[in-house]
C-alpha cells in the first residue's frame, strides 16, 4: 500500500493498437482478445520496485478514438511517462505517431518520458511496420523503443518498468521536481490519515522522497 513514489503514466495511440490490452497484461497479467472500446480514460495501477523502492504506477489508459481526443488531451497533464503505442500490423497507426507525439509533447511537461511501443509483435506474419522503422522513429524523436505483445506478454513488463527506471533516473538527476505534481510524480503518503502514530510506514516514503530532493 505504501509507496515511495507514484508515477503517472498515460497510454496513448490510435484506437485498437492494444493500449488497454497492454495495461491489462501489465496489471492483471492476462490477455483479453476482445476489449470494449475505452470511454475517455480507464485506470490501472501496479506496484513495482526500483532500487529497492516501492513505486506505484498509476496508468491512465486513454481512449484512442478520435472523438475522445479533445478529452484525452486534458489528461496528458501531469504524466511522468507515456507509452506511445502503435500496431505493427497496421501501418497507419505508425503513421499517426507524429500527431500523437506532438499532442503529448504539447500537453504534458517536457520531461515526460515517452516510450514508443510497437505492439502485437506476436503477429509477425502480419507485420507491416519493421522493427527498424520503429527504432529509427524512436531514435529520431528521442524515444525509447520496444516491440511488445500484450498477448504473449513479451516485453510488456519491460516496457512499463524501463520507463519507470528512466523516470527514476531523472528524479535522481534532479530533472524532475517531485514536489510539483504537474510532473506526474507524487511522493508516497507521509502518514496514514487515520494514524497519527504511524511514523514507520509513512516515514519510509517520506524519507525516501526527501532523500531524492
Amino acid at each position: 500500500m505504501s509507496y515511495a513514489y507514484l508515477f503517472k503514466y498515460i497510454i496513448i495511440g490510435d484506437t485498437g493498437v492494444g493500449k488497454s490490452c497492454l495495461l491489462l497484461q501489465f496489471t492483471d497479467k492476462r490477455f483479453q482478445p476482445v476489449h470494449d472500446l475505452t470511454i475517455g480514460v480507464e485506470f490501472g495501477a501496479r506496484m513495482i520496485t526500483i532500487d529497492s523502492k516501492q513505486i506505484k504506477l498509476q496508468i491512465w489508459d486513454t481512449a484512442g478514438q478520435e472523438a475522445f481526443r479533445s478529452i484525452t488531451r486534458s489528461y496528458y497533464r501531469g504524466a511522468a511517462g507515456a507509452l506511445l503505442v502503435y500496431d505493427i500490423t497496421r501501418r497507419e497507426t505508425f503513421n499517426h505517431l507524429t500527431t500523437w507525439l506532438d499532442d503529448a509533447r504539447q500537453h504534458s511537461n517536457s520531461n515526460m518520458v515517452i516510450m514508443l511501443i510497437g505492439n502485437k509483435s506476436d503477429l509477425e506474419s502480419r507485420r507491416e511496420v519493421k522493427k527498424e522503422e520503429g527504432e529509427a522513429f524512436a531514435r529520431e524523436h528521442g524515444l525509447v523503443f520496444m516491440e511488445t505483445s500484450a498477448k504473449t506478454a513479451a516485453n510488456v513488463e519491460e516496457a512499463f518498468i524501463n520507463t519507470a527506471k528512466e523516470i527514476y533516473e531523472k528524479i535522481q538527476e534532479g530533472v524532475f521536481d517531485i514536489n510539483n505534481e504537474a510532473n506526474g510524480i507524487k511522493i508516497g503518503p507521509q502518514h496514514s490519515p487515520t494514524n497519527p502514530s504511524l511514523p514507520g510506514a509513512g516515514g519510509a516514503g517520506g524519507s525516501q522522497g526527501s532523500g531524492c530532493c
Binding site: 475522445f68 479533445s70 489528461y75 487515520t194 494514524n195 514507520g200
Partner: protein, 696 residues
C-alpha cells in the same frame, strides 16, 4: 633454636600422651598434653610402645578424626577464620600451603588404613577437599599419614623398633632399602614423582613418622609449638609429600625427643619447626583451598591474600634458608657428636624435599595467581596498546557506559519492536478502515481527479467564451448559467426517500434513459447486492464489529468509487455527445445523483443497522455508526451535487453559455477536502471506539 626446639619437644611429648587419651579435646589441651607427652617421651623413649599405642590410637583416632573432619569440613567458616587468625598470629609461620598439600592432607586424613595409601590417594583425588578444618584436618592428616607410614613400616616388618635405640630404628629403616620404596609408594601415591625424587633418607624419615603415628594430636596441638618446628623443616613443604614428610619429621622428632639425650635437639627443633610450618601451611592451604575452591567471593581479598602469601613465601624462603642452615649445623653436630650421619643426611634430605615441595607448591599457587595476573595485565596492555592515553580512557569509559546501556538498549529495542508491531497492527486495521485508500483502490480518486481535470479544461473554455462575449451576450450567458444551476439544484436531502433497492434501480434506469449516454450502474447495483448477501449471511454473534465496519467501509467506498467513475464517464460522454439537450441532461443527472445517493445511503443504513444490532449496548458505537453514515451520505450529496453542476456546466459550455464552472470546481475540491477530513475523522473515531469496545 635449641631452646625452642627442646620446648617443642616437650610439648610434643605431652601431646602424645594427651592425644592418646583424648584427641577430641580442645587444641589447647592437646597442645599442653603434647608438651607433657613430649617430655615424657623424651624421658622414656619406648618406640615399640609408642608405636603400638600410636597405631592403636591412630586407627581409632583416624576414624574419629575422619568423622569429625567430615563434619568440620561440611561447614565451618568459623574454623577457617580461626585458622586464618591463627596464621596471622603466628608470625614465624610461613603460611604457604599448596593445594597439593591440602589435598594430600585431606586425603591422608580420609584414609583410615595406612596400607591403603593408594586408596587414600584416590579418595583424595576424587574429593575436593573442603578442608575447612584446618587444624583438625591437619592433625588428622598428619595422624593418618603417620599411621600410614607406620603401617607400611610395620608391614615391612622393620618397624619393630626397640626401645634400645631409636637410632637403630632409624638406621634400620634407612638401611632397609626395601623400606624406602614401600614407604614412598605408600606414603606418596599422589605425590608420586616428587616423593620418588626425594632422597632415601627422607623415606626413612617418613617411615619414622609413620611410626610416630601417635603424633597426630601433636600436630593438632602443635599449631603453636608445631609451628615453630614446622617452620624449620616444613616451610618448604607445601605438597602432600611435605605434609607427610612433616608428619614423619614430627614423629621422628617425638621419637627423637626421647633421644634428645643424644643431643638430637637440633633435629628435634627442626622437626618441630617443620611440624609447625606444616600445620600452618596446612591450615593456610586449607583456607586457600576453601577460599579458592568454594566460590571465592572477593577478588580484592584474593589480591590481598596473594600479597600476604607472597610475603609469607618470602618469609618461608628465609626461614627455609635459616632452617637449612640450622639443619646443616645440627647435622654437623649430629655427625660429629652422635655419628648420626644418616640422620643428618636424612634431615637434610627431608628439608630438601620439603623445600622442593614447598617451592612447587608455591609455584603452583603463585603460578596460578601470577598467570591470572599476567593475563589481566596482558589484556590491559592489548587493550591499551593501540589506544594510549585519553583515547584509551575514553574507550574504557565508553565501554563502561555502554555496558549498562546494552541491556537497556536491548530492552528498549524490544519495547520499540513491540510498539512497532502494535503500530503495524493498528496501521493494518486502520488501512482497512481507511475509506480513502479503499476509495483509491477502486480508482475512485483517479476518476475524481480526471473529472476535475476535465472540469478545469471546460472551465478554461467557458472563461474564454465569456470573455469573448460582451454586453447583452454576456448577460444572456449569465442568465443561462443561472438557469442551468437551478436545474441542477439537487432536491434537499429529503430523508423521506428511504426507498427500496428496486425503487432506486428504477430511478437509475430512467435517469440513464433520459441522459441518453452509454453508462451503466449495474456495477454499483451488483456490488450492493453482493454486500447485501454478505450482510444477510452475517452471523451477528460470531462476527466482530470491526469486520462489519470494515465491510461497510469497503462497500461504501466501492459504491462511491463506482458512482464517481460513472459520473466521470457521463461527463466524458456528454462532452463528446453530438446532440445535446441541456435540460434533459440536467434532469437525468439530478435523478441519477439522487438515485445513487439513496443507493449509498441505503447501503450505509443497512450496515448501520447491523452495527447497531451488534453493538446495541454501546451508545457511542451507534453514534459513530450514525456519524459514519451521515458522513458518507453528506459526502455523496455534496459530491454528486457538485458533480452535476460540473456536468451541467459542461453541457452549457457546449451551447456557448458561460457558467460558473469554476465555482463548481471549487465546490468539488472543497467537498473533497471535507470528505477527506470527515472520512479520516470518522474512521479514526471508529478505530478508537473499536478499541474501546475491545477494552470493555
Amino acid at each position: 633454636m635449641d631452646t625452642s626446639d627442646s620446648e617443642h619437644f616437650e610439648s610434643a611429648d605431652e601431646f602424645h600422651s594427651d592425644s592418646e587419651s583424648s584427641e577430641d579435646t580442645g587444641d589447647k589441651s592437646v597442645l599442653d598434653n603434647l608438651d607433657n607427652d613430649l617430655e615424657k617421651r623424651l624421658g622414656n623413649l619406648n618406640i615399640d610402645e609408642n608405636l603400638g599405642n600410636i597405631s592403636a590410637k591412630q586407627s581409632e583416632n583416624s576414624v574419629s578424626n575422619n568423622a569429625s573432619i567430615l563434619g568440620d569440613i561440611e561447614g565451618n567458616r568459623t574454623n577457617e577464620i580461626k585458622v586464618k587468625n591463627d596464621y596471622k598470629d603466628n608470625p614465624i609461620i610461613p603460611k604457604r600451603i599448596t593445594d597439593i598439600n591440602i589435598n594430600s592432607l585431606v586425603e591422608t586424613q580420609v584414609a583410615d588404613t595406612p596400607n591403603q595409601d593408594v586408596l587414600v590417594n584416590r579418595r583424595l583425588v576424587d574429593q575436593d577437599i573442603p578442608a575447612q578444618n584446618r587444624t583438625e584436618k591437619q592433625h588428622k592428616s598428619e595422624c593418618e599419614i603417620v599411621t600410614l607410614k607406620k603401617h607400611s613400616t610395620e608391614s615391612s616388618s622393620e618397624k619393630a623398633n626397640d626401645d634400645q635405640s631409636q637410632e637403630s630404628e632409624t638406621e634400620n629403616m634407612w638401611d632397609n632399602n626395601e623400606w624406602e620404596p614401600i614407604s614412598i609408594d605408600n606414603v606418596n601415591p599422589s605425590v608420586g614423582k616428587n616423593i620418588k625424587t626425594v632422597s632415601l633418607p627422607e623415606k626413612t624419615i617418613e617411615e619414622n613418622l609413620w611410626e610416630n603415628d601417635d603424633w597426630e594430636p601433636i600436630e593438632n596441638k602443635g599449631d603453636d609449638s608445631d609451628d615453630t618446628w614446622q617452620k624449620e623443616e616444613w616451610d618448604p613443604i607445601e605438597n602432600k609429600i611435605a605434609v607427610s614428610s612433616q608428619a614423619k619429621d614430627t614423629s621422628n622428632d617425638t621419637t627423637w625427643g626421647g633421644w634428645s639425650t643424644w643431643g638430637v635437639s637440633s633435629i628435634l627443633s627442626t622437626a618441630t619447626h617443620s611440624v609447625s610450618t606444616l600445620t600452618n601451611q596446612v591450615s593456610q592451604g586449607l583456607s586457600n583451598v576453601l577460599e579458592n575452591s568454594m566460590g571465592i567471593p572477593n577478588p580484592e581479598e584474593l589480591a590481598k591474600q596473594h600479597l600476604n602469601e607472597e610475603e609469607k613465601i618470602c618469609g618461608i624462603l628465609e626461614n627455609v634458608e635459616q632452617n637449612s642452615a640450622v639443619e646443616e649445623d645440627s647435622k654437623d653436630k649430629n655427625y660429629n657428636g652422635f655419628g648420626f650421619g644418616n640422620l643428618s643426611n636424612f634431615v637434610s634430605g627431608v628439608s630438601n624435599l620439603t623445600k622442593f615441595v614447598e617451592h612447587t607448591g608455591n609455584k603452583v599457587i603463585n603460578g596460578g595467581l601470577d598467570t591470572l595476573e599476567t593475563i589481566g595485565k596482558k589484556t590491559m596492555e592489548v587493550l591499551q596498546e593501540g589506544d594510549p592515553g585519553l583515547k584509551n580512557k575514553r574507550a574504557f569509559l565508553k565501554l563502561d557506559q555502554d555496558k549498562p546501556v546494552l541491556s537497556q538498549v536491548l530492552k528498549e529495542a524490544k519495547a520499540k519492536a513491540e510498539e512497532e508491531n502494535r503500530a503495524l497492527q493498528q496501521k493494518n486495521i486502520s488501512k482497512k478502515l481507511n475509506y480513502e485508500s479503499l476509495f483509491d483502490d477502486y480508482h475512485g480518486l483517479v476518476h475524481l481527479e480526471a473529472l476535475e481535470m476535465l472540469s478545469k479544461q471546460c472551465d478554461i473554455k467557458l472563461e474564454s467564451l465569456s470573455g469573448a462575449c460582451a454586453g447583452d451576450a454576456l448577460k444572456e450567458i449569465l442568465e443561462t448559467l443561472e438557469q442551468v444551476r437551478e436545474l441542477c439544484e439537487l432536491p434537499d436531502e429529503d430523508d423521506e426517500d428511504q426507498s427500496t433497492l428496486e425503487e432506486i434501480e428504477e430511478k437509475i434506469e430512467s435517469a440513464l434513459k433520459e441522459i441518453n449516454i452509454k453508462i451503466t450502474y449495474d456495477k454499483g447495483i451488483s456490488t450492493w447486492k453482493e454486500a447485501e448477501n454478505w450482510l444477510n449471511s452475517l452471523q451477528l454473534d460470531i462476527c466482530d464489529d470491526t469486520e462489519i465496519h470494515q465491510k461497510a467501509l469497503q462497500v461504501l467506498a466501492q459504491l462511491t468509487a463506482i458512482a464517481v467513475e460513472q459520473f466521470h464517464k457521463a461527463g466524458e460522454l456528454l462532452l463528446i455527445k453530438e446532440h445535446r439537450s441541456t435540460a434533459d441532461e440536467a434532469d437525468s443527472l439530478v435523478l441519477l445523483t439522487t438515485a445513487l445517493t439513496s443507493l449509498i445511503g441505503f447501503a450505509a443504513g443497512k450496515f448501520s443497522e447491523k452495527l447497531n444490532a451488534r453493538a446495541s449496548g454501546t451508545l457511542n458505537k451507534e453514534k459513530i455508526n450514525d456519524l459514519i453514515t451521515n458522513v458518507f451520505f453528506e459526502f455523496l450529496h455534496d459530491f454528486t451535487g457538485s458533480q452535476q453542476q460540473f456536468i451541467y456546466t459542461r453541457c452549457i459550455s457546449t451551447i456557448d453559455t458561460c457558467t460558473s464552472s469554476r465555482c463548481c470546481i471549487n465546490k468539488i475540491t472543497m467537498k473533497m477536502s471535507f470528505y477527506y477530513t470527515t472520512s479520516r475523522f470518522s474512521s479514526e473515531i471508529c478505530f478508537r471506539f473499536k478499541h474501546l469496545i475491545i477494552v470493555l
